[in-house]
């Protein structure tokens, strides 16, 4: 099968959906001729024209609000938010407006919009261009939250997102834009709320999201060499969350580590770990471990930045300790 980059996968997903449905348009900064600073959208404006691939001023709250209104009135907008860190600017439009409209209107209005943005540190972009803010959105009822972990996942999940009739926020991993994976030529969709068992294992469950799926896989490689069999699970969407697949795995392995690139405290790892502790309590041999980004603003200095996010080595060390029964109390 052919391999394409995550960036190409996103581009294809959008192009295919836009061909299928004329009510879809995309807007954001430098999305047209420039094809975004990451060059993800190159070629789209040539095919779809400037009324469907719309360059906006640097007005994130404004164009997100415009997307909400367009979505309420028959269009299906895709918002391109250049950096996930800019979510803070659009929270009101996303969380007070888009997320609540369907409910507040008693089901009469709905907001079929997709907000595409990204997450991920270690690009030396410092504290305002490196955040992984998906936990914030996941906390607000009414928005679905999607975390693709490869080109294949990105394409299938984005197509599903575009067809969803609710507000969906999809976080791409910035560091993965040039990573290739096998992606079929034929159309496929990946349903929401269905976790992917990336690798089967028996000794420990590693739940990784987005960028952390690769980290978990690499950790599993390290562990395999130590004779430890790790099961790796990618939830794909954290709202909705496929609790069943995660719980089945942990009931089998009795141990779990949840790995996510958002800050650890009050973040995604806490929710998933809690659900595991609730649903697999009597199967657990040791407390569920959480590994998120450090609770610090992301530092610029490479010497510091790399310390802030989970790495395969650190995950493997934690997993080994867990399997050996060394983590009886807290870490």
């Amino acid at each position: 099968m052919r391999s394409i980059t995550l960036s190409q996968a996103v581009n294809e997903a959008i192009a295919e959906e836009m061909r299928r449905d004329e009510t879809i348009f995309l807007l954001g900064e430098d999305v047209a001729e420039a094809g975004t600073p990451f060059k993800i959208l190159s070629g789209l404006v040539e095919e779809f024209g400037t009324s469907r691939i719309i360059d906006t001023p640097i007005s994130e709250p404004g164009f997100t609000g415009i997307a909400v209104g367009a979505a309420m009135t028959g269009s299906r907008p895709i918002v391109d938010l250049m950096f996930g860190d800019f979510l803070f600017l659009v929270m009101d439009q996303l969380c007070n407006q888009a997320a609540k409209t369907h409910y507040m209107s008693g089901g009469k209005l709905n907001v079929p919009m997709v907000l595409r943005t990204n997450l991920g540190a270690t690009r030396r972009s410092a504290a305002q261009h490196s955040q992984s803010l998906h936990a914030l959105v996941a906390h607000i009822p009414g928005v679905k939250v999607v975390l693709p972990s490869s080109a294949y996942e990105a394409k299938g999940l984005l197509k599903t997102a575009i067809r969803d009739n609710n507000p969906v926020v999809i976080f791409e991993d910035k560091l993965m834009y040039q990573d290739k994976s096998e992606v079929p030529e034929e159309e496929y969709l990946i349903p929401f709320g269905q976790a992917n068992i990336v690798r089967q294992g028996t000794d420990i469950t590693l739940v990784g999201t987005s960028s952390m799926v690769q980290v978990a896989e690499k950790a599993a490689d390290i562990l395999a060499k130590q004779g430890i069999s790790a099961e790796v699970i990618d939830p794909r969407t954290i709202v909705p969350l496929d609790e069943d697949t995660i719980l089945s795995s942990v009931r089998k392995t009795s141990r779990a580590i949840v790995i996510d690139e958002g800050h650890q405290s009050y973040g995604v790892t806490a929710e998933i770990a809690s659900r595991i502790s609730e649903g697999a309590f009597y199967h657990l041999d040791a407390p569920v471990q959480r590994m998120g980004a450090m609770d610090v603003p992301i530092p610029f200095s490479p010497a510091l930045e790399d310390l802030t996010v989970p790495t395969p080595e650190r995950v493997a060390i934690r997993a080994m300790a867990l399997v050996k029964g060394e983590l009886t109390y807290a870490i």
Binding site: P57, S59, G69, A71, H102, G106, G107, N110
Partner: protein, 325 residues
């Protein structure tokens, strides 16, 4: 009053009726609050009727509006029924939003009302987006964004006016300057000229007596036609006044607003009284006919309240319905 055109008497009477309906609705809503039958608080539109009616009477059903926390007037003016409105205000299942939205989120999708909004200025993006959507989908619908003078404080408005101007969107920004945002005077909140805020983005802006329903309607007709024709966006500042407090519970308000001022607006500038006088003078309706009309409207409102008070609440099962479609 600016226009005499008795051939339009049906339209005139409709405007009068719509204004009277808003007033009747608000009087009942206020009573519900005062008799402790209303959950929460609500913001009365009384005094500003000529704005909502003058503008909405220039719109088609498929044209959209977005509204505010002070949204009952816009809702009535865009075609809503009393029963579903009162049911909504009382949190009943037959409300426009099944009781889930309430006064501050009342919406009436079927008549093009995209909803009230409890975030001041929060609907500026939505209105502009509806206009973009119409343009993109090849419809000739126009969107009116209602907002108060206080919303001029919100940066979002400037962001979307810029885009509306760049992209010539069919949207009309209708700024209802009722002189106050909550308990603060507009001049303490807004530097410069209000219309200048739109002109800065190359948007044609107008200032108008918001108590004169014919003036409002005339300008609206023109601007709506031009917006339909791709000549938008536009901005209208409508000078008006709210008769009640900021919300129904804002009773002792002399510390921020003199009684004299209220008296002047209510007695000299009332949009319904003055339009009634004009209708009589122009022989479009007699004073008695107008009285009958108002009585009917008041009765309708009272009946709707009685109905809504009796109507049932949504079932507990509904609580987690409509989070997602």
């Amino acid at each position: 009053m600016t226009k005499k055109k008795t051939s339009n008497s049906e339209e005139y009477l409709r405007m009068y009726t719509q204004m009277a309906r808003i007033r009747a609705f608000e009087d009942q809503a206020n009573k519900l609050y005062l008799s402790a039958k209303m959950p929460g608080l609500t913001h009365m539109y009384s005094g500003q009727e000529a704005v909502a009616v003058g503008i909405c009477e220039a719109l088609k059903k498929t044209d959209h509006i977005t509204s505010t926390h002070r949204g009952h007037g816009h809702c009535v003016a865009k075609g809503a029924e009393f029963k579903q409105m009162f049911c909504e205000l009382l949190g009943k299942e037959e409300g426009y939003c099944r009781g889930k939205g309430g006064s501050m989120h009342i919406a009436d999708q079927a008549n093009g009302n995209l909803g009230a909004n409890a975030i001041v200025g929060g609907s500026a993006g939505i209105a502009t987006g509806a206009a973009l959507s119409a343009k993109n989908l090849g419809k000739d619908d126009v969107t009116v964004c209602f907002f108060g003078d206080g919303a001029l404080g919100q940066g979002l408005l400037y962001e979307v006016m810029n885009m509306a101007s760049l992209w010539s969107l069919p949207v009309i920004y209708a700024c209802e300057n009722n002189l106050y945002g909550e308990y603060t005077k507009v001049e303490e909140m807004a530097a410069g000229e209000l219309t200048g805020r739109a002109k800065a983005f190359g948007i044609e802006a107008f200032e108008l007596d918001g108590q004169d329903v014919l003036a409002v309607n005339n300008l609206s007709q023109k601007l709506v036609a031009r917006a339909r024709n791709g000549e938008g966006p536009f901005f209208i500042q409508l000078n008006t006044y709210r008769y009640h407090g900021h919300h129904v519970g804002d009773i002792n308000r002399e510390y921020y607003r003199p009684k004299d001022e209220e008296k002047y607006w209510k007695e000299e500038r009332d949009p319904i009284i003055n339009f009634g006088i004009w209708l009589a003078k122009e022989n479009i309706a007699t004073t008695a006919e107008l009285q009958t009309l108002r009585d009917q409207v008041n009765q309708d409102a009272a009946d709707a309240v009685a109905y809504a008070l009796d109507a049932s609440y949504p079932l507990a099962e509904e609580v987690d319905m409509h989070v997602f479609i």
